[in-house]
Subunit: 205 residues, 2 copies
């Protein structure tokens, strides 16, 4: 079994199920589709269908075994093998992400940060190395890096993005507040924290 | 005119239009609905409908005047008056958010951070004050704080959330990787960066 036969939309929800199940207290040995659907504000039919694609159906009146469901989800998401990521732009946000240890349980390891400022490179207050940007290409090759995280400012984000693509990176997570252009075949996920906050404010009465 | 008669879904997209228009080069005096729709990967009909709700229709063959559209969007989103926000949990991510100056152009001002650790409070490496958590209630009252940002760990997130609600805060932006309970009438936006990354990884072939 691998994840490729699973629809993309389903695949996108699998990490959500996994996070939910991992956060359940240890007293839950089994869980029903209804409880998962309620917990995540999803439709029950959708939950049953999604989980059937990775772990078969739950048992009537019992539900799913949590441990088995967790390991099936992890296997389908390829979490047994960590994907290496690099981060470019070791400012405050970049350094916070470098030090965050919650990504590995989702199968991604940020192996190093890069910056062009000598001062930042020498600061050394993160758990991961911060290296000069000129070493990016050789580093990515040697460490089979597939994922790049952009935390530079808007002005240099497209440049950095182009560099990452040149280095063979196929998925980019962009925190700079601008819309980047990537060649087809390269995945791009925009993260705009200011927009999230703006969205929340827009609902405040 | 105010924002209350605009559907919630439309309201949620307004910051996106605003961000897009602000990022256009200054040579754009006017822009068509088609160009906006393409730039944001939205449907053209939806764009026309959304913008009609805040700024009337564009002129045939010319489109919308960028400056007018920007100021209409800002007015509808209430960006003329800043909403005060506090942040609780001044770790690396919290301090990065405290120092980010991109929120104010979306109408939100983080006025102070709070933490329970003496060491963090005295560090003073951010542009905003970090205050002891015991001052939260009086501070929120004095400064008419309406929005709270949670950047503590999972274990204390619900406690902090309850405290913020007690302080009269009606919108919460939560970065802790757990699902919080809030009373009805309080808005909650979950931000799970690990899930975003997991979602990107799940699409990597």
């Amino acid at each position: 079994m691998n994840g490729y036969s699973i629809p993309k939309a389903t695949l996108g929800r699998l990490p959500l199920y996994l996070e939910y199940l991992r956060n359940l207290s240890e007293s839950h040995r089994t869980i029903s589709a209804t409880a998962i659907a309620n917990g995540l504000s999803l439709g029950e039919v959708q939950v049953r269908k999604d989980l059937a694609a990775v772990s078969g159906a739950g048992k009537p009146k019992v539900g799913y075994e949590c441990d088995k469901l967790i390991s099936d989800l992890e296997r389908h998401l390829g979490y047994e093998k960590l994907t290496n990521a690099v981060l470019v732009g070791a400012g405050k946000l970049g350094r916070a992400l470098l030090d965050y240890d919650g990504f590995e349980k989702f199968g991604v390891k940020i192996v190093a940060g890069f910056d062009c400022k000598e001062r930042v490179i020498q600061m050394g207050d993160t758990s991961k190395s911060i290296l000069p940007i000129k070493n990016l290409k050789s580093y990515c090759k040697e460490n089979e890096v597939k994922l790049g995280i952009i935390t530079v400012g808007q002005a240099s984000a497209q440049d950095v993005c182009d560099k990452l693509v040149e280095c063979g990176i196929t998925a980019i997570w962009n925190f700079a507040p601008c819309i980047l252009k990537v060649p087809s075949g390269v995945l791009l996920k925009q993260e705009n924290l200011a927009l999230s906050l703006a969205h929340l404010k827009s609902q405040l009465s």
